[in-house]
Symmetry: C2
């Protein structure tokens, strides 16, 4: 059975899809949000940030997909410990429901340190596996009454507690904040921030030419010096002097933090595990959504933070 | 609180995906089947045939998506009347659960007589709308414990009651029986049968050449004299002298009756509402599944019957 079904559901349930709205004021309209996280590693700060979300928790369901690895075993133990606390009856921050899927397939790459998983030759297999994990999670947890899907990676550890309301207010089919990382700047001898996620981009003539000349199953990857695409990266557009509400249209998106109107997924937009217009996973998702007339947007000055290993 | 008191079940559910099997013996393994029907018109024989399925009904869930049209209103009234009878407590043929989705979008083509809806110029918009309806139904009803998805059109009125077991026994990712139609043969002056569904086919060099020369958003359609593709149609392969278990590999499938392993959908295979390798809807689905390494098969001598208007 699905997330948002009433507990004592009769064996027949009738849904009017036009009652499932996605508006600028989702709280007033009691719109439900499904937060989906592929989770290989558990970070306490991830959970703490979720708890701080000011969006009504009774309208939020959580879904996790966890790999069948030793790392996954550790992650699930830590996650369930936190869930047990939060979901206790009477806990003020209780979520509407939580689904945990344990993957049946082995992870193609066991060693997943940041350096290893970012190697270009590992990206295609890794991102295909991630795409299938995201799809499994999406296809089995999206319910008839879900209004919004918030994709949130497990290593996103800091963002404004009003994240959901802030992103929904743009009324965009798909919208991504800018994913940065805190680090200690040895030159400046102080804490600093730097761009982390390079998958949010505006297409370039160079990338289009490269794609046109590629073998049909080759993919374009972003953020690799060996393959300069000259796409405009949202990561590089951050300007603290500008409005936080500055919005740009994107052609590719990452999945670190991504708010999607559920109807975009319902129309069929998923994460291709195969090259789709030479794109894969979240970047292919943006292209597929665009083929379904749903465009993607980014907020270069609205920052969320990725864990620093 | 008392020792042995059952813990108040928290709203947390944990699924091990490798416990969700899809085997040749689905009944013995208690595998659940989700029957999905886009339903614009209700036929009593459709319901009567469902009731006769010998697969354990407690393992079967039904999902419907119904258009927001006058025709849809009539269909839903008739459907709910039958549901009310069948789902009564204690009814021997009761299904595990039933979900009815009412579409939020208008049907692009209101006049949907057989002749009108088969006109070639109407096919692209019509099949794109059908693709989105199928995806909405799929994405919102597929659960973490679903083993099989049986697509069944609402005008399929006759098939062996062992249909699910028969198809599952082939252990194929995707498998389609041959969809025929009964009619009165005026020449023979007797009841006869003829092929109905032309969407189950094996690709041809001609079709591939046509696709290669097409505009990128053009689609190939099957069963139109104006556009001869010379594909091998399963509809034409029926031979009552041969084994009922004869199996052929297919490149395109129809959705009239189609058994799909749920993991194929979970990997991301859906019904493209946009041209995908110049294919759309169910035919595009077969291609997409193939890109995800799940092949489609057909049973030319295993007949199911479409209503004759
Ligand atoms: N289910 C699942 N999740 C994974 C797997 N590998 C990584 N993840 C999660 O997927 C998200 C993105 O992966 P990550 O390694 O952080 O990617 P990166 O930050 O782009 O290098 C994170 O939430 C990970 O915890 C996997 O094999 N299976
Ligand atoms: N939800 C929904 N179902 C539809 C719509 N149009 C047709 N159907 C259903 O979709 C299936 C296929 O449509 P049908 O008109 O029979 O196609 P054909 O037999 O291939 O010409 C049938 O089960 C119809 O009842 C629609 O606009 N919305
Ligand atoms: Mn990460
Ligand atoms: Mn039909």
């Amino acid at each position: 059975s699905k997330h948002n079904e009433p507990a004592q559901a009769p064996p027949v349930v009738h849904y009017h899809m036009n009652n499932v709205t996605t508006s600028r004021n989702p709280v007033e309209n009691s719109e439900t949000v499904l937060i989906l996280t592929p989770l290989a590693r558990f970070y306490q700060e991830y959970w703490d940030s979720l708890l701080k979300l000011t969006y009504p928790h009774e309208l939020i369901s959580l879904g996790f997909i966890i790999p069948k690895t030793k790392e996954g075993n550790l992650a699930i133990t830590a996650l369930q410990k936190e869930i047990a606390k939060t979901q206790k009856k009477g806990h003020g921050k209780r979520f509407a429901s939580i689904t945990i899927l344990r993957q049946d397939t082995e992870s193609p790459l066991q060693n997943q340190g940041e350096a290893e998983r970012h190697k270009m030759e590992n990206q295609k297999a890794r991102r295909a596996a991630m795409a299938k994990a995201r799809n499994s999670l999406l296809f089995t947890t999206l319910g008839p009454t879900t209004s919004w899907v918030l994709w949130m990676d497990s290593d996103i550890i800091e963002y404004p507690p009003t994240l959901i309301q802030d992103l929904a207010a743009f009324d965009a089919p798909i919208i991504a904040p800018n994913c940065f990382q805190r680090f200690y700047n040895n030159e400046k001898k102080s804490q600093d921030i730097r761009p982390y996620d390079f998958n949010n981009w505006v297409d370039s003539p160079t990338a289009k030419e490269m794609a046109a000349k590629m073998g049909k199953d080759d993919i374009l990857l972003e953020g690799y010096a060996e393959m300069p695409t000259y796409r405009s990266l949202m990561a590089m557009m951050y300007d603290p002097a500008q409005e936080i509400g500055t919005k740009v249209k994107l052609d590719g998106v990452g999945g670190a933090v991504l708010l999607v109107k559920a109807e975009v997924h319902r129309d069929g937009a998923m994460f291709p595990a195969f090259p789709f217009y030479h794109l894969i996973e979240t970047e292919g998702f943006a292209k597929m959504a665009s083929r379904l007339n749903s465009e993607s947007f980014g907020l270069p000055n609205y920052l969320v933070y990725h864990y620093n290993e």
